[in-house]
């Protein structure tokens, strides 16, 4: 049964990693990275590494995405300048 959990978690991690790379807007990427952090934490728990899971949880699901969000906010504050923003806001629905 542990094996089944590990396989599902592995596939979840692979999917989350792919989604994190394919989301080109850093604002969206930050939330996917936070999901990836949690998925990795689950995988590490199933691999009997709760210490590493704790570490990954705190860093991957909170600190890294938060810093990315803050950088995005800083970088995009100056109005009307060309950023590397390649997703217009309206595309999301």
């Amino acid at each position: 049964m542990t094996d089944v959990l590990i396989v599902v978690a592995l596939l979840l991690v692979a999917g989350a990693a792919t989604a994190a790379v394919l989301n080109r807007d850093p604002m969206r990427q930050a939330l996917v990275l936070s999901f990836l952090g949690l998925a990795l934490a689950l995988l590490f728990t199933f691999l009997q590494a709760p210490d590493v899971a704790l570490s990954q949880l705190a860093v991957g699901s909170a600190v890294t995405p938060l810093m990315i969000l803050l950088t995005v906010r800083k970088v995009r504050r100056r109005p009307g300048s060309g950023d590397g923003v390649d997703k217009p806001a309206g595309r999301e629905r």
């Binding site: 807007d25 949880l57 810093m67 803050l70 109005p79």
Partner: protein, 266 residues
């Protein structure tokens, strides 16, 4: 290099890597079958030093010198970030506008804050007994402090967060680690050797110097992450470049969420 050429170079490299990596994987022992001689020895060494959490023992006892290196990377990375994100001469500070927070959110955050700090300290303190330790607990405690940013707002956070204190705390953590190592030399042993009494397995005071080093790392990581987040928050919320117009940063935001948000309000 044009993007097209770069992509081709990547594809060729990736194909090569994939082929070699897959071949290597097929040659590896199957997942979860082989015992590791070093792992077995590490477990014996940790138990002989009365440390219940073998991972903490590896980090702070068997490979303590290695962790000193890791800690120094962390230390210098934080210093580098602080230098890069300091307020330049042509930038000016402006007070962020106070935000109003919905009462349930504020109440929840204020109630959770002390509790979350406590969880962080618990994770640090129980490093040598249960899963946890200075590295993980430090991050939890530092993130917990930023609950205040939601609970009240940025200015309240600045008031309870004397940044200098955390900068000193970070340096003190690093220094404490080195001093503990040197103390072992003074006691007539090797640098970072475990010279303190080992205590009883699975109690708070077990593990000898592992416990002290764990606390030093906890102090450094907590302070380091708080300083990092503070610098980023400063840049994002307070510091303005000369070209930027006045007004609140929220007005000039250009995030992916903006368009949808307007529509939702309409």
């Amino acid at each position: 290099m044009s993007p097209r050429v770069r992509l081709w170079v990547f594809l060729v490299g990736a194909a090569g890597f994939a082929a070699l990596f897959a071949a290597a994987c097929l040659d590896l022992p199957a997942f979860g079958t082989v015992p590791h001689p070093y792992g077995v020895r590490a477990v014996h060494a940790a138990l002989s030093h009365h440390t219940a959490n073998v991972i903490a023992s590896v980090n702070f006892d068997l490979r303590a010198f290695d962790t000193l290196g890791e800690e120094s990377i962390l230390f210098s990375a934080v210093i580098g970030t602080v230098v890069l994100l300091r307020q330049a001469r042509d930038e000016h500070r402006k007070d962020p506008e106070p935000a109003t927070v919905h009462p349930p959110v504020r109440r929840f955050a204020l109630l959770t804050l002390p509790f979350a700090l406590l969880v962080g300290l618990y994770v640090i303190a129980h490093g040598q007994i249960s899963p946890g330790g200075g590295f993980q607990g430090g991050v939890v405690a530092a993130t917990a402090l930023h609950l205040l940013y939601i609970a009240a707002d940025y200015r309240a956070l600045e008031r309870v967060r004397p940044l200098t204190l955390y900068e000193i705390g970070e340096a003190a953590g690093e220094a404490a680690y080195v001093i503990t190592g040197l103390a072992a030399v003074l006691a007539g042993s090797a640098f970072l050797a475990n010279v303190l009494p080992f205590g009883t397995l699975a109690t708070l005071s077990s593990g000898g110097t592992a416990m002290v080093l764990n606390a030093a790392v906890g102090l450094e990581v907590t302070s380091g992450i708080v300083v990092l987040l503070a610098r980023f928050l400063d840049q994002a919320v307070e510091i303005e470049e000369p070209g930027e117009g006045g007004g609140s940063p929220r007005d000039t935001r250009d995030s992916g969420g903006n368009g949808d948000d307007e529509r939702e309000r309409a």
